[in-house]
Amino acid sequence: MSQPIIHPTGGFAGTVHLRVPGEIDVSHGVILYLEEVSVSFDALRALNKLSLTIEDGELRCIIGPNGAGKTTMMDVITGKTKPDSGVVFLGQNIDLTRLDEPRIAQAGIGRKFQKPTVFEYHSVWENLELAMKADKRWFRSLVSRLTSDVHDKIEETLKMTRLESFATRDAGELSHGQKQLLEIGMLLMQQPRLLLLDEPAAGMSDQETAQLAELLNVLRSHCSMMVVEHDMDFVAALSGATGKVTVMAEGSVIADGTLDQVKRNEQVIESYLGR
């Protein structure tokens, strides 16, 4: 592991923090910090000086029209896309622009994709095993054994996602909604500090959506979350009356506040809701 890079403004308060290398420093309460992030694909400006901070323990919903740059933002945070300019920090000490995808995941960022992506030819329990927080270097995997701790953890997660009776089935045999649940289960096993969810409720039945909301509430106590969503009812259910909602358009943030506040924002109505 490379040493985490110390942010130039990290010590601005004049206080001295005891830093453990590799651990996320959230002593100022911020888990994710984006400043003036820009990404261009040829002529297209996908992100235009995007600035955003997420508090530790917060659940933040991000809404915006298609092409607003939401997925690109997720790609930048998870290391899939390198920004052209700008600052991306996890906590105060981990510079995400310098790490690759596996390291960012190890640092504590989990990601759930729009389409449920599970390992179709692995059984359900193997999916959970792969996701579990552990030493993930190749020589460790070669000698790794399924200890009773891991076994218990897998069982517990199976119970929580109601997939117990599918444990030894191939994940490819699950329904769309069950795959979504399995993916949430995998994230529970991964124990991220910050979880990015890209349209988690897409393509789910009402019952499955309700179950998902319930599971997300379980996850909520474990990590901070950033949810990109189109379904307004789902956003309302997640953020409640006081939760913060951020509206993105054309690669930057145009408004944030509670759902009611942003719904009344004229710029938002013009660019998104009014259409």
């Binding site: 596996p102 995941a105 692995h122 993930k136 995997s141 000698v143 054994r145 076994h151 117990e164």
Partner: protein, 372 residues
């Protein structure tokens, strides 16, 4: 009326079994049968007896077992990790060449020119051994080279290819180019590996006359042991968590990276291990067939290996062994009786297998078992 479904408590083994119990039993039976019958039929039973195992048959099966080791190695990277190498013939040939160097040095003064140097060097009017031939008269060093050279080349190639995230067809083409370029290099006399004639006319191995029935039997049994050993080691790899990660790389690499796995180390290990296995196969091949030349590195050979794997069944380990036997058995039969039709047969396999046998012979077998 509600149906109460009893949920069985999850009982996962701490490690997946390497082989199922019946599979172990079958394997042990085969090992005992081969270990007893082959020496008996080749050495004890006289030549006139129809049960006698001829040197020809033993060499043929021994050769195919070497191919089976290579097929197993290729399946490990292709069937399990999704890396289609069309250059595994290179690692096979390199292993063979390293063994060939030892065999050439073992000829001693018995060559055509009665020189301490291998014949082709005398022919080229070289006065001393090139530096890389030093020490190759010692078997342990040559055996080390058999493992090191293919392994090192594979590691270096793999490091740059996988780090740059070269995948799929592009990687296949580069591996093909690699074996082709090396073949051209080995065709040159100046390279010091006997040019297009390669190495041949071996006399002895570890002091034993190489064509004696006892030596042939020994080589056969050694090859068989290597094949069984390779199979078991490959099973150990694919039934471990490592194996599950590697299969996940094959299916959805990006997802795996977001779980915190760096595919580089995993790919490099299977790739390098596979190359080493292939090199061992090649090293056992050369003393049995008695020749190694650069045509072993021709692109066609590597492609043929992929056919063995595909016909037998990718991602099954037993499949490639079966595939190597079916294709090479058919090849030696057809080239002997209907030599003009071999390539047509190979071409037909190319069409039939992807269309009707996507999971190979093993896949077909599994399907039939499930149906009955």
């Amino acid at each position: 009326m509600s149906v109460v479904t009893e949920i069985q408590p999850l009982a996962l083994p701490s490690r997946q079994p390497i082989l199922s119990r019946p599979a172990w039993q079958i394997l042990i039976l085969i090992v005992i049968a081969i270990g007893v019958l082959v020496p008996l039929c080749s050495l004890v039973i006289p030549e006139e007896n129809p049960l006698h195992l001829s040197a020809y048959a033993m060499t043929l099966v021994g050769k195919i077992m070497c191919y089976a080791i290579a097929a197993l190695a290729l399946d490990l990277v292709w069937g399990y990790c999704g890396i289609l190498s069309l250059g595994h013939g290179l690692f096979f040939a390199l292993g063979g060449y390293m063994m060939g160097m030892y065999l050439m040095r073992s000829i001693g003064l018995d060559g055509v020119y009665h020189s301490n140097l291998p014949d082709f060097m005398v022919f080229l009017d070289w006065k001393s051994l090139p530096w890389y031939w030093q020490g190759t008269d010692r078997f342990p060093y040559a055996a080390l080279l058999v493992i090191l050279l293919p392994g090192l080349l594979a590691w270096i190639f793999g490091f740059f290819a996988f780090r740059s995230r070269v995948k799929g067809v592009y990687l296949s083409i580069i591996t093909q180019a690699l074996t082709f370029a090396t073949m051209l290099l080995f065709y040159r006399n100046e390279t010091g590996f006997g040019g297009n004639n390669g190495f041949t006319d071996f006399k002895r191995i570890l002091g034993f006359p190489i064509w004696a029935a006892g030596t042939r039997t020994g080589l056969f049994l050694l090859t068989f042991a290597a094949l069984v050993g390779s199979f078991i080691v490959c099973r150990i790899i694919v039934t471990s968590k490592f194996g599950r990660v590697v299969m996940a790389i094959r299916d959805t690499e990006s997802r795996l990276m977001f779980l915190g796995y760096n595919p580089l180390g995993y790919k490099l290990f299977v790739w390098t291990f596979s190359a080493v296995l292939c090199g061992i196969g090649g090293a056992l091949y050369v003393p049995q067939v008695g020749i190694i030349n650069p045509s072993e590195m021709s692109p066609g050979n590597s492609i043929e290996m992929a056919i063995w794997v595909a016909i037998g069944g990718r991602g099954t380990l037993i499949g490639p062994i079966i595939g190597a036997f079916i294709v090479n058995g058919a090849k030696s039969f057809l080239t002997a009786s209907l030599s003009d039709y071999w390539l047509f047969f190979l071409g037909a396999l190319f069409i039939v297998v992807p269309l009707w046998l996507p999971h190979g012979v093993v896949g077909l077998f599994k399907k039939l078992v499930r149906r009955s």
